[in-house]
Symmetry: C2
Subunit: 424 residues, 2 copies
Amino acid sequence: MARIVMKFGGTSVADLTRIHNVARHVKREVDAGHEVAVVVSAMAGKTNELVAWAQGMPKATGSSTPFYDAREYDAIVASGEQVTAGLLAIALQSIGVDARSWQGWQIPIRTDNAHGAARILDIDGSELVRRMGLGQVAVVTGFQGIGPDNRIATLGRGGSDTSAVAIAAALKADRCDIYTDVDGVYTTDPRIEPKARRLAKISFEEMLEMASLGAKVLQVRSVELAMVHKVRTFVRSSFEEPDAPGMGDFDNPPGTLICDEDEIVEQQVVTGIAYAKDEAQISLRRVDDRPGVAAGIFGPLAEANINVDMIVQNISEDGSRTDMTFTVPSGDVDKALAVLEKNRATVGFDAVQSEAGMVKVSVIGIGMRSHAGVAATAFKALAEKGINIRAITTSEIKISILIDGPYAELAVRTLHSVYGLDKQ
Amino acid sequence: MARIVMKFGGTSVADLTRIHNVARHVKREVDAGHEVAVVVSAMAGKTNELVAWAQGMPKATGSSTPFYDAREYDAIVASGEQVTAGLLAIALQSIGVDARSWQGWQIPIRTDNAHGAARILDIDGSELVRRMGLGQVAVVTGFQGIGPDNRIATLGRGGSDTSAVAIAAALKADRCDIYTDVDGVYTTDPRIEPKARRLAKISFEEMLEMASLGAKVLQVRSVELAMVHKVRTFVRSSFEEPDAPGMGDFDNPPGTLICDEDEIVEQQVVTGIAYAKDEAQISLRRVDDRPGVAAGIFGPLAEANINVDMIVQNISEDGSRTDMTFTVPSGDVDKALAVLEKNRATVGFDAVQSEAGMVKVSVIGIGMRSHAGVAATAFKALAEKGINIRAITTSEIKISILIDGPYAELAVRTLHSVYGLDKQ
């Protein structure tokens, strides 16, 4: 007997048939004797419709009036999950599973006041735990809670993953199962490398690097939260038949477990290869090398909402001037250049160069902390394929390499192979 | 300066354009210096969609499980008003009117636990009144409140009228304006009698008789509530341009005011002619005339959910046997006859006769309390047209006459004319 949280996203609850299928997944776990809470998103497309309505209102006439009130936006958009939760509760009851729906304000899930992008502050799981102990499934609206103003607050798009992990932490659940339209986390993108393998386990730290680099399986915030609270999070497919072989195997179901690295007995040196396309490289030549100059460059870029990724600064030759290279999304190059030009006087640099159409390829693995030569292997492999390296940044568990766009797929396959990820 | 509640139904808020039009109606009243609360329904068609989803779930397998859980039904269906309230608040803000949405549980509007058909027990209007005093419009979700179980409870279809009147009572509003797709209450159905006139005023009692007889302008419950709390309720059209002449005339806007009879200075003897089609007449011949026999007949019919309308019982000739005639909806005749047959032994009657396709025509007016001969006028007028009277029932302010279906329109026009209702 275990306590589990099951989360189903919008495509998994897109219509009544799929909601009924979700109910069968839940029943399987209930029948196995587990205590179950379910977190649901709005039916696919519903949130977009509601957002379009909220944003489709005529623009404010006075400049002091906001385009729309985020608190009203929240009240409108949160209704989508409310509908799904009620429907799933009915679907569960219809197959003999005791269930009731819970809206964020009923539990309550308390958030801060940042409507539209609220953070969960506290969840009182006591009543849910009591009822789950009596065999009742709790069906909880994802993506929302109640703010200090007693109004519904949403967590921002994709927030249902975060809701699920937070609820799993509050309920001290043994596992948080994220049912989604992929069946787990792969060593790299299978569309680029068909030999990519599904990982049985991946550490929180690795998943964070994978997610922010574009693995797109789980919301980054939810992984951070899982790491902090050590919530074992299982990514698995909602499109498998609920009674398919192995689906009910608690210790080893199909999917990928995101967990503490202590739980990963046989650690690989490298776990996966991620990539991010459409990066642009911007280089400032002969920048003043003095305290505060980095802040002078990146402060205004952040204010302009430009997401700076890799930053490379070399030791200056003479101690007074240096080169600074960084990447931004290709679509933001012009905006970034305009911001830099405007601040040229205060920052002080000789020239600025930029080039779009770059790709960042990253090698990720907690094993590299204790293994030397991981980076050298990558550089050598890329060199052998004639791929030029534009910039390199490293962290404890990641090596990121900026290369020319056309070499993206070749680089991913080369690195995937050189670390033996295509072998079982 | 006055305090008013404005209620808009589903067709009035069916899309973003209409919601913006509603906002202009509200702004007109705010600009006139009034304190305003608005009660909204779900966008037209939305409630039906949600109900269909809730009811479309696969049927329960075990007979002990209900078809659907009314509490979940409420959570699902109540989301429709939540969306409209948020959208209207944004629309108001966009034209410079301070506004916020309120869901039933936030105010709170407390109801009993009869999910799906809950009754309002109490409304705490203090915070709304405070904010309205500061110039903020309160946009309230109609049709719902919160039950003693801390879950959303809906009032049943059409409940938004009831919400509006209850809120008007709680806020001690000067008037409750019901904006709908008709522009008031008429002396009779204009589709039958083109000379029908819109009434400037009608008493609560008369409106109750009109509504239950098929005037279909306002939910009966909302009129009952308005009568109890003496809420002056104004029926008016939401499809008029918000700035059309007279719309902002507080004392005399276009529409029909439902009010206490004391407020109606020039009382007409007869206010309107209502009718109900598809009635069936059932007569029991030579029923035992003893205490409890009526209960023996109508108790089982009520248990079978058959709505009995007119009931006529004559004094028995010999003190032991009598005839009993009553009407039911034509569609329920077979069911009613089966129920009667089943209870024949306990009730005791010689024979049962039935005839469908009847019409009940009613003459309504508080003035008839103090005027003799009102009924005689009706009987004479119908006789002159050769219309046979099947049964008659009367109350203090109503005379109902059962006639053969084909004479319905002729009877309505005849009565409308004989009481002078077609004259200004």
